[in-house]
Subunit: 347 residues, 2 copies
DNA sequence: CTGTTAGCGCGTTCAC
DNA sequence: GTGAACGCGCTAACAG
């Protein structure tokens, strides 16, 4: 058993109240100099450190934030995009001396009731950062009904009461497709993740469809392949597309990883990129700068999004008035080699 | 305020003791069937979930594990190697219904006293997984003196009382160098991270020196460059080496990231790999299979190490007798293109 | 300036 | 079968 405030009080021959005062430096001016020194001395000697549980129980503040990840399958902390968000979150919370409590749910658990309450709303944390919660999940409803402040990350919803931070997915897709249109492309395919799970993917897919309509370009079902977020999905999508008589001239993907898988598959089939087909990604993860060809993609300010989400939550917890409930970060088109832009301009 | 056990008791017109019995299914046979049903009903109706703090305070068990990372600078969850370890940890702890409490310290904090106690030994967790703690840090001593069970990960020490899980770093370096010797290399350089911070790096560097001695090959100071774990270190190391009159014929690195940076720099200087110089990595992160040339490296079973470390800690917490205090995982030489092995055999 | 005490929410012992 | 009461370690109101 660790040393408690009571042990200190006995040794110092003062009451626990006095000890508490010097520990927390609260009403400290009321405590005699001599007493302070003696207590501090004993605190050090006995190696006392406050029990966060007891303190939390009393103050109803824990100094912990729950960061909730929804894995598609099993815990996968090697997902660069999610971890880049976590970088931003951790850096902010570190500054503010908050601890991070990781909660990871798989696809199935995200849909269950009681997950929220038993794992998150259990008094262990002061607020919740939900990273890319599944579309229309039970967790999402629980969050609204629950008593804990929360901020959604990489999720957007048309509800002024819900706090979230996201990027302008729609704008990102528009930019990428405008770029492709300018380069003369006219048959567009889409390879993406599971739109029933990821809101970002859904938004990007919708933007893709919207843009086609706007440009009077037809959406063909056989030009759409939705899987998950692995390289395999990219490869499978390409295989499906290349089994068609009329191939697309451009492939828009919802994520860089998918694009990388697609590129690998195309190369293994001897298809020239970008001469025979253009391809684009989304997120701008570091590796895509070194793929062959280097991937034209949409930069996603993941770090800033994480940092800002943590800041918003911190403000909510601190009752600091926030005059906005959500923030959108702009994306940025990163033109590299996979669409042939530099090929054209070389001419 | 969330609904408490007392609220339930009042509504159900029973005592809190009875409610506690049905919640925890303890001495449940003593509770009347009717009562059980009524309490369960109300539990659901009112959306009750136990407060983990209060419970932890009472039982002295938290169902939380502290996972401690020591960043070289700031929180960096995008480090593949560390996150791959976390994958293993999280998958095991998920199975056992333990939560993960993340504690991140920077280089400086790791050396400070009181960090252990105030951030880790605060009653919030039942045990500690310390990922690659800094060499000889204060934290390390605190861990030994502290009352919490712990397991070190990616760290090894000659002390039967200290639990740890690590790979056979020495064997990994031996394999890589034996491979290089077989290919006829004779002037060896080493580019690595900070050996005063990372035990793994230190062990690998020592293995490098030992192997040179064993093979009667001289260790030249100008063939050693130690920085951190970024691509820049690889690049800087190469620049330094290529400023010398006599260049090394082989570069052994302590980590894949460094090797990738070195390769990039060598290519930008027009140096042929492996014709002019061979280069090796360590860890076998996914990207190195796609570098140009593909990197010959040492496979590091990071996932398994994390999983096993979590399992060991879980056993310690559960007082299940463990008949060993540490485990070493074997490494595996992965021969790709960067040392010229396939070049030779093609002849 | 210092101490007494109540209670945060829960589990558990010991009565009945 | 059930309940009263205590205490985990701490903070804060109040008393002196």
């Amino acid at each position: 058993m660790a040393v408690t405030i009571k042990d200190i009080a006995e040794k110092a021959e003062v009451s626990v109240a006095t000890v508490s005062r010097v520990i927390n430096q609260k009403d400290i001016h009321k405590v005699g100099k001599k007493t302070q020194e003696r207590v501090n001395q004993i605190l050090k000697e006995m190696g006392y450190y406050p029990n966060a549980m007891a303190r939390g129980l009393k103050t109803q503040k824990t100094q912990n934030i729950s960061v909730v990840f929804f894995w598609y399958d099993r815990p996968l902390f090697t997902d660069y995009s999610l971890m880049r968000v976590l970088d931003g979150i951790a850096n902010f919370l570190n500054e503010k001396k908050y601890n991070i409590l990781m909660n990871t749910f798989d696809r199935e658990m995200g849909t269950q009731a009681s997950v929220y309450a038993s794992f998150v709303n259990n008094g262990l944390s002061d607020g919740i950062l939900a990273i890319a919660p599944p579309v229309d999940s039970q967790f999402f409803k629980d969050l609204k009904q629950g008593r804990l402040p929360y901020v959604l990350v990489n999720y957007q919803v048309n509800d002024p009461e819900v706090c979230f931070v996201d990027c302008l997915n729609t704008q990102g897709i528009f930019d990428v497709m405008e770029h492709l249109f300018q380069l003369g492309h006219h048959r567009f395919a889409f390879i993406g993740g599971d739109i029933h799970f990821s809101k970002n993917t859904l938004d990007r897919f919708n933007a893709f469809k919207y843009m086609l309509k706007k440009k009077n370009s037809a959406l063909k079902d056989e030009y759409v392949y939705l899987g998950n977020w692995t390289e395999e999905t990219g490869a499978h999508g390409v295989k499906k597309l290349w089994s068609l008589k009329t191939k697309p001239t451009a492939i828009v993907t919802s994520n860089d990883i998918i694009a990388l898988g697609a590129i690998k598959q195309l190369r293994s089939m001897g298809v020239q990129i970008p001469q025979e087909v253009a391809i684009t990604g989304f997120d701008d993860i570091p590796t895509v700068g070194f793929s062959d060809p280097a991937l034209t993609t949409v930069h996603h300010p993941l770090y800033d999004i994480g940092y800002e989400a943590a800041r918003m939550l911190w403000n909510k917890i601190g009752k600091t008035p926030l005059d906005y409930s959500h923030r959108f970060f702009p994306t940025r088109l990163i033109i590299r080699e996979s669409c042939g832009y530099y090929l054209k301009t070389k001419n």
